[in-house]
Structure formats: structure tokens, C-alpha cells
Symmetry: C2
Subunit: 562 residues, 2 copies
């Protein structure tokens, strides 16, 4: 009977799901496992610069490919990754976190190994990760191990959450039947209860049949739980105006004639606010209603007719239907919705008016920049914006079709995007090497995770790295401490970064005026992602997108309230 | 009645303990707290480049000053620091981790704030940190808050462990009586039970009175729990030969005539091994018996007469005396030991023979380097060695008196030392600006935490940063995967680092031969810590100290054992 090792089995399973890059760092308890990566054709080990960056990279990769795998070593490695893993938990990102742990016999003897707390407790890190995991597993029995690995992958994928898997170093080379690989892992979501689903469909179609001004509002989980196609079909089938939240951005085609803009409660454009809040039916898909995603909870719908489609339940007005998940119910709805919309006369959608003027010799303002980028983006781009002015600014832009927007609006860990860009650009290499990956990161945030640019250089990736240099933590200055030195950073010579990291083919450019950016954007050579580029964009210190200024007023108030 | 704010109270308390630098990063839930730092004269905010580095820095600072304070923000900030905090837990380092958390009212409403998991659970991060903390506190009642802060500081200091303190943002500006500051925090360790202590003294002196070949073996906790003076006095009073473990290095004066060398079980120099293992009484102070500290548990004493002095108990042969802590019992012993040693004829101590030859034109070897540094070090130096070849190599060196060695032998998190160096060099600025801080870090480890060099530049610190460039993770290559690409790293132009980070007065030098180092060490200008320096030391790829080569043979075996 043909056999394979347990270590190789893990990577074969991931390969079956088109996961071809594994993120992480070597450590003595995972080295034997890493050997197995090289035994699977087409599989590569990213070899990140540190574990937090690796977790961010895995998160970025997963947002393009639906799942990612991170490998760390016991204690030191895994704990460094926790903030990144928690972000994947908060933001619904599928992530398998495999930790190489000491052999079962070392654990049984409670040896005071390095990378332990020195107290013989080998379960403490597992307990810590349990708080930010969909599920966890500890491999201690070879016969059960393949099924445990399958379960972990399934749970991470279906729930789009991190899963924590401990693999003791002595198991990696043990043999299991290769035939287990012949049955694919079942990744289909749990089927909806037919009666509950019928009731949902009946109620929703009844609401639709009576609505004259319904809207579709798309949020983060529509993308994360793989419902973009269903949402697209729903817009096409109904012609209802479609809006997105900041976290939902890129969840629908923003060049679609029925796309109405970005809804952020009171921080919305007035025409968008009016259009959404005057609707008589809201079809909300994949909502994740955090403060920054809702203009500090300032939604103000006129109607009580709200249908929320979620990954694990549906809610209609005040009634909850547990377990009725959106992908199946939306498909079902698509089959019948045509029968309930004959009365509907399409209402006009708000006009997009954030069109930038031609770049002048003026210094660059955030207001101009975020309007100008809309026409530079092109179909298929991956656009990554860091927490802070970039994440707020991007809300003013429009994406062409099939773009992916990545922004950690809920978790909001600064530095996230540099790691996420590495993950996204490695995914892009696998999907289509022409696909552009574009990062906007502040000079402050960049400093937290800068070394991951080195990994981008190692893999000869070709992202655009726009460093928005406003001389420190502008978002924090807006919240509190405009002149406080704790919001200052050491100024770096950012144009030296690619040289330090030994990039083979690179370009480092500084732009200070609108015209300088304009000329870059118009240059055909610059438009091809042929090399890695750093573009340092010089911005006034306290310049920020208007929606950010308003948001931080809310936040400051919340922080000091008794 | 004079009042102060709760936020200022915290920093006043730290100031009373000569803690003048606070480490961490700003985040919106801690900004109001950071304002208070500037209200205390002589207090400064380090402003680190990321939270993991900040935790490492706090650890390094604490190893010189006995305590350190780290401030992070809720969720994203605190989780990034966990690996560093866990290291402080494992290695007995006093650390107060203050987390700025959302206001009590936000928490009560379970708002879906950014930096949460989006599930309304505001206690999850507290629970996670609880696993790696001596104690924790959540401030929710103003009247109890000052006493809680005092308790946290006391527990961190007395136990030399991390303590986790949640401070909701709305409490920072509330007033408390300033008079509370007039009573100092009691930092004395719990007094030993007199009867138990008397019995210990009686038994130990009886063992001493019969021993003809006793030795003193000093480990990490002697330094961490502030017993260096007692150990020094014990050696002077008894003339017993004194040895240290790798983690205990710098715990005694290595130029003392009764210093015998470093004991690491079978990895010791043969003469040291013989001297320790043939003793008829071992007085062990502050032992922390991890694998890398003991040559994989290869201690092999001839005698059963072992006395272990610990920070919270004493053990004599097989009898444990809970609560009899070493500082008090050693002081007591010092008062009487003279009466029990009249019979003792000092035995010779092993000779130190690792004296390097004059540097030649040969490429640098680790063997030569670690012998050569002994005569370059000078009194008062702080010598920091990264996990890997540096931490093993330094064992071959001798320190002058009053040096402090920093090495994370038990926790062993790579990258630790770059952060720790920042902390140590800021402590050195406070203690004596002439004090030299010297780092030896591998090119691989450097990449994990490199941005903390920027903070060193910001504060115009003047450390020596020796980057041992052996083209990747040599320690991992020795353990497993000598030619595996997962042990490769992207090669950096390390001589560009200080330029990138905008150092104002700096020097970057590459050395490839013994002679080149020799000339540096002999240059009086180089010997003054007048500027920040990077010295890149080019080393053969698989060259390593002999004790490291032997250690990894043990470790590889442990990892694969079933």
C-alpha cells in the first residue's frame, strides 16, 4: 500500500485547494515539517522576515485565494504571530496556523526546553490561541491525524476564520496511507434547513414585491464568504441600486451603472446617505458593523424593512433564522426574484463627483490624491490601504471591475498592509503575473513591518509601494495629541529601502506635487508592473481625508466618555 | 487637598523607582495616558518602532534597572507584544505591561469598536495575557485604582515577572489625592519564616563545615532577583571556587581569582566539568535549568550535597523549604559562614585558556572571535548576545568586573537582542553615558526586529552593533536542513542601515579578517562609545562555536524522539 508522511499529507491537502505558498519562519520544532513543502510540486515556502509579518502575509494571500497557511515554531514563533491571527479572526479570513511543537516524549517528560516558560507547561500557548481560533487541534495519535488535518482545513475555509493546529515534531515523518488523499476535503457549507430557507425566501420576496425603493448594501463578509458572484447576479437581476460599506469595498463592480457609492452613515456623501436612508427595503449582505465601518454607528435608515444575509444566519426585520447562510439562500433567491420585481421602476443612483482635476504644480493633498487614483486603477488591480488616512481616503475612490480592496477596517493593526502586500503579491504571481498589487501605507505604519519588503525583493515580486509621508502618525494626531512628540517618528530615507533589501530590479521615486504624480500615472512604463517600486508621496503633516477628520471626532469622544 | 490624575500617578510611582523611560507605541486607547508621561520631570517616552520590539526593549531595560514599563493599546498593540512579555516571564524579568483599553462605557455597551474581535468580548486579551503574567489588574473603580497600581508594580518587581494592567481611557484624567505618593511602595520581598530559615542555615553550615571541595554555582536568578552583592560577598568570605551557567554569566566577577569558568554539563571545558562535578558540596544560587543552560540536562554531580537557593524557596538535598527566599537567607548565611570554613583549604580553580592570538590576515572564525573579545571588553560593559552562535560563543569569553551579560537562553526568541539593545542603551544613558552597550546579532535574527535601530538613532544612543553575517540561519542549519532553502535569508546591504534610519553621527564598517577586527579593537577612537556603529563581521556559512555544534546534536535527537 502506498504511503505518504503526515507532514507531506498536510501540504498535499493544501495543494489540492490551490494553496501554493506557505508563510512563516523556520524554528527548530518545525524544520522537519518544512522539508515536506519541497516534496510537493509547485509548493513554495515564503520564508518571511518575522512571524507577525508572516501572519499578515497569510491574511493578504487568503483574501485573494480563500485560504492560507502559516507555519511557526512553538512559543516564540507562534506568539509573535498572534496579533496577525487575531486580525484574521476579527475580519473573517480563512487561515490555518500550524505550529511545530516539541515531540510528545519531551512534553510528557515536561522537559525545561528552550521556547517554554520554564514551568513544564506545554499547553499554555495552545490555550492562548484558542481565544482567537475557530477551532484547534493537537495531533497526538497518528491514526486520527489525517482526519484532524482535514477538519482543521475545512473549518478554516468554511468559517473563514483562523484554526490552530499543533503538530509535534516527531509526527512529521510518520507514514499514513496515501490513498487518503484521493477523497477531497468537503468544503461545502452546511446546507440550510429547507423549511427555514423557504420561509426566508417567502418573506424576502414578499418584501421585495412591495418595495418601490429597495437598495442592496454589501459589506465585508460578502467577499470573505465567497458570495461576490451571487451579489453581482442579484444586482443584475433586480437593477436595485447597490452600495458598499468601507469594509465591503470591491465586493461589487463599482463601474456598474447601478452602483451608487459607499455608505458610511453620517460620513457618507450626502447623496449616498439620502439614497440609502430613504430606501423602503435594505438588502444587507455580509454586514460587519464596526465603528469605522459605520461612521461610528450612525446608520439611520427610514425603513424597518431590513434583511441581513450573514454567513451563518439570516435576519429579517426582528426575526432571526439561525443557520440560514447567505450563499445558498442568495442562490435560491436568484432563482425566483425575477417574479417579484415587475413593478420596480429603477430609481437613479447618486452620481460620482470625485473626479480629480489635472495635476498642477501644487503640493499633493489627500483630497486630490484619492480622487486621482480612481482613473489610474485598472481592472484586476489589488488595492491595499493601511489603517489611517489611506483606509479613509480610498473610500473616495472608485475601483474598476474585478479589483480586490484590502483594508483592515475592523482590526486596524498598523503595519498590517506591508505584510498583507507580500501575501497578496505572492498570490497574484500564482493567479496572473500581470495583476498589479498596489499598496498605500503611511510612513509611520511602514516602520512597524518594513522588513517584509525584503521578502518581496527575494521573490522578485513587482508591487507598487506608495509611502504616504506625512511625518508621523497623523491619524493619532487627529485623535489626540496634535503636537505631542509621541506621535512623531524617526524620519527615514525611504528611497534607500529597496537598495538596503537588495532588490534586483527596482525604482524609488519621490513625488511632492500633483503634477509629478500625474506624469507617473501617465507614463506607460510606470503602468506596467515590471519591477518593485517605492513611490514616496510627500504630504502636509496634518492633511487628511475629510471623512477621517470626522471619524476621529467621534472616536475621541468615545474614549473619554465616563 | 492637592490632587493628581490617575495617569500621572502611575508615572510618578515609576519615577520613584528610577524608571525614567517608558516603552511602547501610541494607539488611540492610550493617547491620553501618554500625555501624562510628559508631566513628570525627567520621564521620557521611547516611542518604539513596533510593539514586539518595545517589549524586548523593556526587557533589556529591566535587566539593568530591575523593572521596566511597557505601554500598548488594546488588542492590536498588546497582542503584538506577547512574545516579548512571555520571554520576560520565562526569564524572570520585572515588567509592567500597561494596556490602554476602551472606556468603561464602551465596554459596557459592547460596542463593535475597531481593535476588537467584533464579538463584543472586551476581556479576551486580558485572559490571553493572564497566562504569561504574575498577576493582572483591570481598573474599574477609581478609589481602588492607586492601590491596584501599587500592587502591580510591587508584584512585577518582587517576583521579577510581567504584570498586566488594563487602564480604561476614561480613567486617565480622573483625580486622586496626591498625598498617596508620599508613602513609597513597599518593594521588600516577603520575610522568610524564621524557623524555616534557621533550619536552612543550620543544615547548610553543617554541610559547609564538612566539605573539603565545595563550589558555588551561580545562575540567572541570582542577577534577576538582585543577589549579585550577596553572591560576591559569599565568594569573598569563603574562597570557594565560583562557576556560572550560560544564563548566569555576569552574575559574578569573572576576573575574580576564585572564578572558575562556565559550567554547562558535558558542554563545559573539561577542567570546569571536572572541578564542578567532583565537588563534595554544590551551593547553587538562582538556578534555571533549561536545556540550553545545562548542555541538555547533562549535569553529572558526584555529590548529593546540593543546596539550591531560589527566589521563592530553598532546597537542600531532597528537602524543600517553601518560601525561604535566597536574598534574606544568603545575608543570614554571610553573617555566620566564617565560623564554618576554618578547615577549608582553597583548591585551585581551572585556568582560563581561551586567549586569542593576534589577529592575522585569516578570515574570521567564531572560535577566534569569541576568544578575542574577552580582552576588548572593559569594566561596566553591557554585552548582549543573540540566540544562536553569539549566545553560545560568548560562553567562551571572559567579562571584566561589573559587566552585564544579556542573552535569552531559555526563551530564545530570535530578534530579541535588537530590541533589548535599545532598552539597555537607554538604561545606560540614564546610569552612565560612558557605559558601552555591545550587541552581537546574526544577520538572520537582525532581520526580525531591525527597525529598532531607528529608535536607537532617534535617541542618539551609541551602541556597538556587531552583525555576524554568515548568510542565513546557521543555528537552524546545524539542527536540521543544512542546505535547505528555508534556512536562507535575503541578503541585505547592512552597511546601509544607519543611513536609512537617518543616524546623525554613525559609522558602518565591514570586517572580513582577524586583522581587521584587531585594528578596530586597538583603535582608541573605536573604543569610545561616541557614536552608533554597525560592524558587519563576515563569517563562513557553517562556522559555529563548538559548544553550539554539540548542543544541536542533542536538540535534533530530542525533536525526533517518539
Amino acid at each position: 500500500m502506498a504511503e505518504t508522511t503526515l507532514g507531506k499529507y498536510l501540504f498535499e491537502r493544501l495543494d489540492q485547494l490551490s494553496i501554493h505558498t506557505i508563510f512563516g519562519l523556520p524554528g527548530d520544532f518545525n524544520l522537519a515539517l518544512l522539508d515536506k513543502i519541497y516534496e510537493v510540486d509547485g509548493m513554495r515556502w515564503a520564508g518571511n522576515a518575522n512571524e507577525l509579518n508572516a501572519a499578515y502575509a497569510a491574511d493578504g494571500y487568503s483574501r485573494l485565494k480563500g485560504l492560507a497557511c502559516l507555519v511557526t515554531t512553538f512559543g516564540v514563533g507562534e506568539l509573535s504571530a498572534l496579533n496577525g491571527v487575531a486580525g484574521a479572526y476579527a475580519e473573517h479570513v480563512g487561515l490555518l496556523h500550524v505550529v511545530g511543537v516539541p515531540s510528545i516524549s519531551s512534553q510528557a517528560k515536561q522537559l525545561l526546553l528552550h521556547h517554554t516558560l520554564g514551568n513544564g507547561d506545554f499547553t499554555v500557548f495552545h490555550r492562548m490561541s484558542n481565544n482567537i481560533s475557530q477551532t484547534t487541534a493537537f495531533i497526538s495519535d497518528l491514526s486520527a491525524a489525517p482526519a484532524e488535518i482535514d477538519r482543521c482545513i475545512r473549518e478554516a475555509y468554511v468559517n473563514q476564520r483562523p484554526v490552530y493546529l499543533c503538530l509535534p515534531s516527531n509526527f512529521v515523518d510518520l507514514n499514513i496511507p496515501a490513498s487518503l488523499l484521493e477523497t477531497p476535503i468537503d468544503l461545502s457549507p452546511k446546507r440550510n434547513d429547507p423549511d427555514a430557507q423557504d420561509e426566508v425566501i417567502e418573506t424576502v420576496t414578499s418584501l421585495i414585491s412591495k418595495a418601490t425603493n429597495p437598495v442592496i448594501l454589501v459589506d465585508a463578509c460578502a467577499s470573505r464568504h465567497n458570495c461576490k458572484a451571487e451579489v453581482r447576479a442579484l444586482i443584475d437581476a433586480t437593477n436595485f441600486p447597490a452600495f458598499v460599506t468601507p469594509m465591503g469595498k470591491s465586493g461589487v463592480n463599482e463601474s456598474h451603472p447601478r452602483f451608487g457609492g459607499i455608505y458610511v452613515g453620517t460620513l457618507s456623501e450626502p447623496s449616498v446617505k439620502e439614497a440609502v436612508e430613504s430606501a423602503d427595503l435594505i438588502l444587507s449582505v455580509g454586514a460587519l458593523l464596526s465603528d469605522f465601518n459605520t461612521g461610528s454607528f450612525s446608520y439611520s435608515y427610514k425603513t424597518k424593512n431590513i434583511v441581513e444575509f450573514h454567513s451563518d444566519y439570516t435576519k429579517i426585520r426582528q426575526a432571526t433564522f439561525p443557520g440560514v447562510q447567505m450563499k445558498e439562500v442568495l442562490k435560491k433567491l436568484l432563482g425566483v426574484v425575477g417574479n417579484y420585481i415587475s413593478h420596480y421602476k429603477p430609481v437613479p443612483v447618486p452620481t460620482f463627483n470625485k473626479v480629480a482635476g489635472k495635476g498642477s504644480d501644487m503640493p499633493i493633498s489627500q483630497e486630490w490624491l484619492w480622487s486621482r487614483v480612481s482613473t489610474w486603477f485598472r481592472e484586476g488591480d489589488v488595492i491595499i490601504t493601511e489603517t489611517g488616512s489611506a483606509a479613509f481616503g480610498i473610500v473616495q475612490s472608485r475601483f474598476p471591475d474585478n479589483c480586490v480592496g484590502i483594508s483592515q477596517v475592523l482590526w486596524g493593526s498598523i503595519g498590517y498592509t506591508v505584510g498583507a502586500t507580500l501575501g497578496a503579491v505572492m498570490a497574484a504571481q500564482e493567479i496572473d503575473p500581470k495583476k498589479r498589487v498596489i499598496l498605500f501605507v503611511g510612513d509611520g505604519s511602514l516602520q512597524l513591518t518594513v522588513q517584509e519588503i525584503s521578502t518581496m525583493c527575494k521573490w522578485h515580486t513587482t508591487p507598487y509601494l506608495f509611502v504616504l509621508n506625512n511625518d508621523g502618525y497623523t491619524i493619532e494626531r487627529l485623535i489626540h495629541g496634535e503636537t505631542a512628540s509621541y506621535n512623531d517618528i524617526q524620519p527615514w530615507k525611504n528611497l534607500k529601502l529597496l537598495e538596503l533589501f537588495n532588490a534586483k530590479d527596482s525604482e524609488s521615486i519621490r513625488v511632492s506635487t500633483e503634477g509629478e504624480i500625474e506624469r507617473l500615472f501617465e507614463d506607460p512604463a510606470f503602468n506596467e508592473n515590471s519591477r518593485i517600486r517605492v513611490v514616496e508621496v510627500m504630504l502636509p503633516r496634518m492633511d487628511a481625508p475629510l471623512n477621517l477628520v470626522k471619524q476621529v471626532e467621534f472616536s475621541s469622544k468615545v474614549n473619554s466618555e465616563n
